[in-house]
Symmetry: none
Subunit: 241 residues, 2 copies
Amino acid sequence: MTDRPPHILIVDDDREIRDLVTRFLRGHGMRAESAADGGAMRRRLRTGRFDLVILDVMMPGEDGLTLCRELRAAGSQPVIMLTALGDETDRIVGLEMGADDYLPKPFNPRELLARIRAVLRRSGPSAEPPAVPGDGACLVFEGWRLDTARRELRDPEGVLVALSAGEYDLLAAFATHPQRVLNRDQLLDLTKGREAAPFDRSVDVQLSRLRRKIEPDPANPTLIKTIRGGGYMMAVPVARA
Amino acid sequence: MTDRPPHILIVDDDREIRDLVTRFLRGHGMRAESAADGGAMRRRLRTGRFDLVILDVMMPGEDGLTLCRELRAAGSQPVIMLTALGDETDRIVGLEMGADDYLPKPFNPRELLARIRAVLRRSGPSAEPPAVPGDGACLVFEGWRLDTARRELRDPEGVLVALSAGEYDLLAAFATHPQRVLNRDQLLDLTKGREAAPFDRSVDVQLSRLRRKIEPDPANPTLIKTIRGGGYMMAVPVARA
DNA sequence: CGGCCCCTGAAACGGAGCGTTACAAAATTC
DNA sequence: GAATTTTGTAACGCTCCGTTTCAGGGGCCG
């Protein structure tokens, strides 16, 4: 029912293609961003939540197939691959790697749009657990235990702490980005997948509610600190278990 | 949200290009500075915080690729490389070295501006690598312990000293540049990432507040000394732990 | 040595950022 | 469809921070 615009990431070494596709998708009501290579892609995925990734197969350095396998292992976004025209091998290997669709270059932007919509429709609205690449694991910090598979939180004594969906998403965003300052835009992107409105303070209120449940002394937070003028930060190290 | 103007460093041996780009970027609301070679770049990076570095590939002495690799290893700023027109090799090697984008010379300044904005948007406001627990994130001086991962300060007895965000940033600036005189411009750049206004004395006031918390006798400071006419200096050695 | 100027320290004030509560709308459950 | 829970918005008060202002003190000159 949440019909927010889909968020697409284009990974291609060719600047012209990146810009063309980005502009085209934005012109059709989507949020689109681009990355020039695998490193940039990873950096962008670290602080943003995407509904779909478009990968060029032919790239210097890490090629699209490698990145596709990585995406499949880590996240759950659907992937569309851009292959060289008529190259059956790429197409087959791409699909084996877990790509959801492929498109031979050069392509008609309208066709890309159609395939994006098809893949998003297929993968459905419930395809994506927010903010968690590398799932199935428990995130442990200061004795607390966040089970990302069950969406449950247990305190150091092992007692279940009831969190609302929003509180869980917020805590998960921090737990997957520990020891980093996250501003309100990033947190909103990670938890709700939307952008901040002018006087949006919903993050503040949610965090206040979360602190009441997990901080020993909510007035002097030790787990999630406030960085005035910057945002918030999980101040303790997080381990996977 | 802190929306301060981005701070760009241009590294190019050609003086005309440096001036042209610097003036152009400033005319578009950015803070821009330039360096003529690798040495000047390193010197500038030591006391300034930059959001992006523009590197010329072809330079006498250390070329852009070498510098790019160095930047990638040390810092976290994104890099845009200026390559010779149509030189595929440079472009590919540049991206492999970790550049976030490239631009063939000669280029249209407006296009450079667009590239810069795109890269900044992609890399986001905080692009630091996630701190690994146990990595040397503590700075120790005279028994005091500044934990940069947790943004916490402990006195020699191990008692937590409450610092405001601004006080912490200021102390961190000194602790990462010990035994060096830092003037107000440098401190403002390191802590707030902005330039000094004509009669800006905010650093003085913050330092006064900081001294009240960490100096045994704030009237006769021993940790952070005043250098009349020059600025301030952390007067004790700092070790990583 | 004394007077002057300029630099710095610190108090005081006001504005902005943030925490929290209250309330209303929306979603979920039964 | 009603009751309950969750979530966003508005509002109030507190804290932090930048600016202003004044006082003290060091350096330079005579």
